[in-house]
């Protein structure tokens, strides 16, 4: 297992559906995930994230291109890739008539874990996901977030070398999400690698070492959260209440993004004083905060949409 955990080259997927035009879900995606990394795929609904994960996890055949899991061609030799991976599917559910304990334990047994190890791993994963108190209740009696925690527990208990997590924290409360982050960080410390998708950009920022932003089946940009944020033209975000009507005042600072009556500009720290002086002079209330991944995401994807529209 010396090869990269995941490497795709020009991966394309066209869905042919009878009676409907073909959909190009992936238009040539090349990406890599290095050993021990946590990488996030970000993109709007329908960008192609799930399609990529399904091909990578050997559940869907690509139209063209290659994808390797630890050096095994996932399309030609899926049997060699499967023992090395585990998947939290998008919108997956545990069996309703199993308890979280039974769900995790039987899954590990089905993957070939010996009894004692399966028991120990089950207890540990349930504990990490905060499910110990409800581990013996049937899943049918659990809330949506508790079921999702059971799904994550099922998969992290495997400690598989490569994990795919498709929106793993959807529907979870902030505490549960942080428990997932901690569990995933610990798994990578123990040597696992992971590729995940999420629409929570704070999560992507807190959790991933590297990110790929994809849109309409293409990689727009990749890098660390810091790199992506740095590329938006500043590290500070200034929101000017009632600034929408006075946009011309801030033209020299770059694009002013309007939201309701307010407008937001991104500035480097050295120009903050200049901008605040204008705000004070014009009696505009200004709120200053750090640039987050959300600004980077909106900017990259928004630019791509505009380019295609023109």
């Amino acid at each position: 297992m010396s090869a990269e955990p995941l490497r795709s080259r020009d991966l394309r997927k066209v869905y042919e559906t009878r009676g409907a035009p073909a959909t190009t879900a992936l238009g040539g995606v090349s990406l890599e995930v290095h050993r021990g990394e946590r990488v996030a795929l970000l993109g709007r609904n329908g960008a192609g994230k799930t399609t990529f994960l399904k091909i990578a996890s050997t559940l869907l055949r690509p139209t063209s291109g290659t994808i390797e899991i630890f050096g095994h061609d996932a399309d030609r030799n899926p049997d060699l890739a499967r023992p090395l991976i585990a998947v939290v599917p998008q919108e997956g559910k545990p069996f309703f008539h199993l308890s979280p304990y039974e769900q995790v334990y039987t899954y590990l047994r089905a993957r070939g874990f010996p009894r004692d190890l399966a028991k120990a791993r089950t207890r540990e994963a349930l504990e990490k996901m905060g499910l110990t108190d409800i581990q013996d209740r049937l899943a049918i009696t659990l809330s949506g977030g508790q079921r999702q925690r059971t799904m994550v527990a099922t998969v992290i208990a495997t400690e598989a070398p490569l994990l795919f997590l498709d929106e793993p924290t959807i529907g979870m409360d902030p505490f549960a999400r942080r428990a997932v982050w901690d569990a995933l960080r610990e798994l990578t410390r123990r040597g696992s690698t992971m590729l995940l998708t999420t629409h929570y950009l704070d999560e992507a920022e807190a959790l991933s070492d590297r990110l790929y932003i994809i849109d309409r089946g293409r990689v727009l940009v990749q890098g660390t959260a810091e790199e992506l944020k740095a590329s938006v033209g500043g590290t500070l975000k200034v929101t000017l209440a009632k600034g929408a009507g006075r946009r011309e005042l801030f033209e020299s600072f770059g694009e002013c993004v309007v939201d309701g009556g307010s407008c937001t500009v991104i500035v480097p720290p050295e120009r903050l004083g200049e901008l605040m002086a204008i705000a004070v002079r014009e009696h505009l209330t200004a709120t200053v905060g750090p640039v987050t991944l959300e600004e980077a995401f909106l900017r990259f994807v928004g630019r791509s949409i505009n380019e295609d529209d023109t």
């Binding site: 869907l60 055949r61 599917p89």
Partner: protein
């Protein structure tokens, strides 16, 4: 590290037993059609009760395939269980047979009760019991194979209900399973002998003396049943492996 053939079968079998064992009402209602037929036969012509009981046993094994069809499609579509279980070292055939076996173990309980009642009515010889077990096993394997294969074609659970009940009622009730093969139109009898449940029923009917033993018919039915069981099972294993991946 390539997974072995049938790897994970026993573990997934127990998973499915646990999943199914919570459906006690469904266990009881799995006998409704057979019960209704038996009551009618008992009222209308008690002399056919032996045949009807044998048919009920065979029909019960046949509908295990319908249960598997529903379960496999439901957990794939609603629970995304394929993504979880098949992107793993668990073998696709272990998944298919584990699910089939788990359903069998849970739903066999009322069939055993039915078998005891059949014994009281028919008084089988040991050889007849052996034959009955063998044909029931064949019918189970073939219908489970058909059920799993069909399950892969659906994208919506609601579509399944209509097709599945049409299929299983046609071949399990309209064809001569509960009644003698000789009462079926003579021109269509070869077709009945080609279909696993009615072929199985005809063999048992001949064995218990309910229909005349015609050697060519017995050989035809037995060979067809055996060959189809093997072919359907082989195909289902191939298909289970192939359909791990879509597109």
């Amino acid at each position: 590290m390539r997974s072995r053939a049938f790897q994970g079968l026993p573990a997934f079998f127990w998973t499915e037993v646990l999943v199914q064992a919570n459906e006690l009402t469904a266990m009881a209602t799995s006998m409704v059609i057979q019960g209704v037929v038996l009551v009618f036969v008992w009222i209308l012509d008690p002399s056919l009760l032996g045949i009807a009981f044998c048919g009920a046993l065979i029909f019960s094994m046949f509908t295990m395939g319908q249960r598997l069809l529903n379960e496999a499609a439901y957990i794939r579509i609603d629970h995304k269980a394929n993504d979880l279980y098949l992107a793993s070292p668990l073998s696709p055939e272990g998944y298919f047979l584990g699910m089939a076996g788990g359903i069998l173990l849970v739903y066999i309980a009322p069939v055993i009760v039915m078998g005891i009642l059949a014994e009281i009515v028919v008084r089988f010889t040991l050889a007849e019991v052996g034959l009955l077990l063998a044909v029931c096993f064949s019918v189970w394997i073939s219908s489970a194979s058909i059920g799993y294969t069909f399950s892969t074609f659906f994208r919506d659970n609601r579509a399944i209900w209509a097709y599945a009940s049409l299929f299983f009622t046609t071949f399990g009730v309209v064809f001569p399973v509960f009644y003698p093969l000789t009462s079926f139109p003579a021109s269509l009898q070869p077709i009945a002998l080609l279909l696993p449940p009615s072929a199985a029923a005809s063999l048992v009917q001949a064995a218990i003396g309910a229909i005349p033993v015609v050697p060519s018919r017995v050989v035809f039915g037995a060979v067809a049943l055996a060959a189809e069981t093997l072919a359907l099972f082989g195909f289902a294993v191939y298909w289970a492996r192939r359909t791990v991946r879509e597109g």
